[in-house]
């Protein structure tokens, strides 16, 4: 098929145009400049005649380019005429002519300073909204828990155990590995720097206190937020997208009781266990490095550790774990239920679930530090 062309001939105030070849989508790129060239404002031209007899094929692209030219001429005050339009294409031209082809203007954008201020304001308001939503979720959990306590048989035990396996049991290897490495790195750095003061032995105090009080629980919570919090958000979000949550509600079930409570209970059980395992792995890693890198024999390490830490040290870490689990669970579920129709929104909520839960876990850890300091633990 030959590419479309536009032959033009000017006779005084009259412009004769001939459409030839195929005016189709694949030739639109070359045809558009031709059309633009003849429609340039030209005060000499008073009338335009288009001869279509040599057109081979026309599709919507060709039809619209012609129609656009006709509209331009009309707006310039030229008389226009089309001759020899094949019968086959009459319907197509009518269809194209019927359209407005105009985009409604975009709503005016406020200037950039205003827009920045506005988005800052909106984000601040959103923080407050998030807090409200999370409080509502915590409240609904308490209500659901109360119902469960009154009628224990309604608790979704199977679902809870299933989630416990996914967030607890299957997380064990990766948690052990990461905390082992963190413990080893802490010990190595400690020995390297403490050695300058001949204080190698205090590495054991540092690793013991740091791991049991802070690092063990924090690392585990960050891992759980990234691993399980995100999956909670994605699961609930896609259930929300496919109206499964609405279906549950219309059947008379409370989504909080059916979907969210088993998930959060599983998390609250799993995180303390993971924290314990993680802390042990970190101490083991620290002990190994102290032995091989610092030359501290295991019996020395153990006896020094016994002096350095107490049950309280361990308790401080483990008490925090269920609260952090609750926080991660609530944030993940609130974000999941906020997913809208699109795949993009699912991704956005999953990201913000992980970011918010890690941030809030660290903030909560700060509050706990103040709390334990004031009660002297």
């Amino acid at each position: 098929m030959t590419a479309g062309t536009l032959l033009s001939q000017s006779r005084g105030d009259r412009l004769d145009l001939a459409v030839t070849g195929s005016w189709t989508a694949e030739h639109a790129r070359t045809i558009e400049p031709l059309v633009d060239a003849v429609t340039r404002p030209n005060s000499a031209v008073r009338s335009v005649a288009i001869d279509m007899t040599r057109a081979e094929r026309i599709d919507t692209y060709g039809a619209w380019l012609l129609e656009r030219a006709l509209r331009t001429w009309t707006s310039q005050g030229c008389a226009t005429g089309i001759a020899g339009l094949p019968e086959d294409y009459r319907g197509l031209f009518e269809k194209v002519r019927a359209g407005t082809h105009k985009l409604t203007p975009e709503p005016p954008r406020p200037n950039s300073i205003m827009a920045t201020l506005e988005s800052v304001g909106r984000n601040v308001a959103k923080v407050a909204d998030d807090f409200v939503l999370q409080t509502i979720m915590a409240g609904s959990l308490v209500v659901a828990l109360k119902r469960i306590l009154l009628r224990p048989t309604t608790f979704r035990l199977t679902s809870m155990v299933n989630h416990l396996e996914r967030v607890g049991w299957r997380a064990v290897p990766i948690i052990l590995l990461i905390t082992f490495l963190i413990g080893a790195i802490l010990a190595q750095q400690g020995i390297f720097h403490f050695r300058k003061f001949g204080a190698d032995i205090y590495v054991i105090d540092m690793v013991g206190v740091l791991v049991l009080r802070e690092v063990g629980v924090l690392i585990v919570c960050i891992m759980v937020a990234g691993r399980s919090g995100s999956s909670y958000t994605a699961e609930l979000g896609s259930m929300k997208m496919r109206e499964e949550v609405d279906a549950l509600r219309t059947m008379g079930f409370d989504p909080v009781e059916v979907l969210i409570l088993p998930r959060i209970v599983a998390l609250v059980i799993a995180v303390p266990i993971l924290t314990f395992l993680g802390s042990m792995a970190a101490l083991y890693g620290g002990g190994l490095v102290s032995w091989f890198y610092g030359g501290i024999e295991p019996p020395v390490f153990l006896s020094r550790l016994k002096e350095a830490i107490s049950v309280e040290t361990f308790a401080v870490g483990i008490i925090k774990a269920p609260f952090m689990a609750l926080l991660i669970g609530i944030v993940a579920c609130v974000e999941g239920l906020q997913v809208e129709g699109s795949a993009e929104s699912l991704g956005e909520q999953t990201t913000s679930s992980v970011v918010k839960s890690i941030f809030l876990v660290i903030v909560l850890d700060g509050f706990f530090a103040i709390f334990f300091a004031s009660i002297g633990m």
Partner: protein, 261 residues
């Protein structure tokens, strides 16, 4: 329309498709001609969508030959295949709009990928297509999640038509639409088909669509084309499934409407 000797734009020969060791299509022979609307019917689960997905290359076939626009898709290299894909448009059952793009960007998507046209023309064509399927230009900036089911189908049709295809595949275009919208949609497909002389391959369960817009109907039963022909042939057929399908309780109103007209 100028009537030229009908040219087969899709030619399927002895097609065999197996899914998980289950033979779904067993020796399909089917031609679709330029400028016709072919309605494709069959019981649920008979493999209508499988045939459609095999023709457009989403499912592998075990045996047989598929020619589209005179090109055997097995022999075609990457460039030839792409050239063919540029010349067909597909409307999926659920619309399959990209949810992260606006309706306008969805329609522009194939234009950006395949045609090197100016931004102005691209936007104008997207709006033209949206208007051709009966939508207002302000839909251009809306996201699929803000549109109703019927509007999603229309935007998806506009996207299928974006490159002015020669073949249009429709997978149950009227399912999930109310009877009035479904009727409008049928008329829309008919008008668009007549203005651009496309071949339309339509998988459908909608008896009204079959009655009002299909030039020819093909029936899939037991993995083969049981019968193919005009509505009159279908109504006269003695095939038991066809009798149940076209003469059943749900068929009556549609048939009466045709008889009365």
């Amino acid at each position: 329309m100028a009537k030229t000797p009908a040219e087969a734009v899709i030619r399927v020969r002895d097609l065999v498709v197996e899914l998980k060791a289950h033979r779904v299509l067993n020796g399909i022979n089917l031609d679709v001609y330029r400028g016709e609307i072919l309605g494709f019917v069959g019981a649920s689960g008979a493999g209508k969508s499988v045939l459609l997905r095999t023709i457009i290359g989403l499912l592998p076939k075990q045996q047989g030959r598929i020619e589209v626009l005179g090109t055997d898709l097995d022999q075609a290299d990457e460039d030839q295949r792409q050239a063919i894909e540029r010349r067909w448009g597909i409307l999926f059952q659920q619309g399959a709009l990209f949810s992260s793009l606006t309706a306008g960007q969805n329609v522009e998507f194939p234009i950006v990928e395949y045609l090197d046209v100016s931004d102005r023309l691209m936007t104008e064509m997207a709006i033209t297509k949206l208007e051709m399927v009966g939508l207002k230009p302000d839909v251009y900036r809306k996201y699929p999640s803000e549109l109703s089911g019927g509007m999603i189908k229309r935007v998806a049709l506009a996207r299928a038509l974006a490159l002015d295809p020669e073949i249009l595949f429709l997978d149950e275009p009227t399912s999930g639409l109310d009877p009035i919208s479904a009727g409008d949609f049928d008329q829309l497909i008919l008008t668009l088909q007549r203005t651009s002389n496309m071949a339309v391959f339509m998988v459908t369960h909608d008896l009204d669509s079959l009655h009002t817009i299909c030039d020819r109907i093909a029936v899939l039963s037991e993995g083969q084309i049981g019968e193919a022909g005009t509505m009159a042939t279908m109504l006269a057929s003695q095939h038991p499934w066809l009798r149940a399908y076209f003469h059943g309780a749900r068929a009556r109103t549609g048939r009466q409407a045709v008889v009365e007209s």
